[in-house]
């Protein structure tokens, strides 16, 4: 069965937008792919692993499904998902630089991560020192909590 927790790389540009596509075609396309099946970015971040063939649970522990308690955490979580997915494909592409469909998928996640970083920046402050929002006073680099602090629940 077509599993919603997985991304089928060849289908990535179509699967979400075209709901009329029948499941048989989707499976056939996947079967013809030589690529490993990937988790979605949301499942991948929870697991710490985008590649379903590499995923090995420990004992009977399940990956945590950490709640996002507010808008800031929700935006940060979505950014972490896309950046993690792009990073995982980055490591794969280091060894398979001619895998064109994986490059397409990498770019999809990379662009989403960049867009989410800009949106987070607008609302909560810059995440990198190259941000455009640093052209004001006071210096915005110190805005927002540092990553190691326990986050306020607001």
């Amino acid at each position: 069965m077509f599993n919603q927790n997985y991304v089928y790389p060849f289908l990535n540009n179509y699967a979400n937008s075209n709901t009329n596509m029948n499941l048989l075609n989707q499976q056939d396309l996947y079967r013809n792919s030589t690529m490993p099946s990937l988790f979605t970015p949301a499942v991948g971040l929870d697991n710490g692993n985008m590649f379903s063939n590499l995923y090995e649970p420990y004992k009977n522990y399940k990956p945590a499904n950490i709640p996002a308690n507010n808008e800031r955490e929700a935006m940060m979580r979505e950014l972490a998902r896309m950046a993690f997915a792009a990073h995982e494909l980055n490591l794969y592409l280091d060894l398979h630089p001619n895998d064109a469909s994986m490059i397409t998928l990498f770019n999809d996640y990379r662009e989403k991560a960049n867009q989410l970083m800009r949106e987070y920046d607008q609302k909560f402050g810059p995440l990198t020192i190259s941000s455009n929002s640093l052209n004001q006073t006071p210096f915005m680099w110190e805005k927002d909590v540092w990553p190691w602090e326990v986050k306020p629940n607001v």
Partner: protein
């Protein structure tokens, strides 16, 4: 060069103080199989990789490990930040408090300071990648030991996550090792 991104790779929010667990966790910060050793191992070995696959993979995994150093530091900081000197003393962290206060300092679980003697860099890609594969397996084993030592879900979640990263990195190093081994044996990369 490196630039900082002001976020963790995976969220960490530990609410419960646990000095004993902090004392154990520090080994994955500054111990022999820890993240600091991993980052320095890969970032030193990358220069003598025989081609761009190796240079890219060791750069990218080494960089990720720097992010894991920050995750371990975050866990230790959050587990200890509300402790009093008396509590530190009772948890066996009195000498640590005497030397470092509440600050972060990379040691193993027995307080032995970090040393670069924990890793090798031989200039031989097969030897270096074998070490990298072993390092990822040892770190996975230590994460499993650490998971067995706690029941706090806020601590278990990032430990499970970091353990899974060791599995992925091991698979990538093994893949590259096998590529190089094959190419080397076929005599295609004699300058390797």
């Amino acid at each position: 060069m490196f630039s900082y991104t002001k976020r963790l790779q995976y969220p960490i929010n530990i609410k419960r103080k646990d000095l004993a667990m902090a004392k154990y966790l520090v080994t994955q910060y500054g111990g022999s199989n820890g993240e600091m050793a991993a980052a320095l191992r890969y970032l030193n070995q990358r220069y003598t990789m025989p081609d761009n696959r190796g240079k890219a993979l060791l750069t990218d995994i080494g960089t990720e490990e720097l992010g894991h150093v920050e995750m371990l530091a975050t866990m230790i900081y959050q587990l200890t930040k509300d402790a009093t000197p008396e509590e530190m003393k009772q948890a066996g962290l009195g000498s640590n408090f005497a030397e470092h206060g509440k600050s972060l300092y990379p040691t193993d679980a027995n307080g032995v300071p970090f040393t670069v003697a924990y890793f090798a860099s031989t200039g031989d890609p097969l030897a270096d990648l074998s070490e990298d594969m072993a390092a990822e397996q040892k770190a996975r084993a230590v994460y499993e030991n650490l998971i067995d030592l706690t029941n706090d879900p806020d601590v278990i979640a990032p430990l499970l996550w970091l353990r899974q990263r060791e599995i992925v990195h091991y698979a990538r190093f093994k893949e590259l090792f096998e590529m190089y081994e094959k190419e080397f044996k076929n005599g295609q990369n004699q300058k390797m």
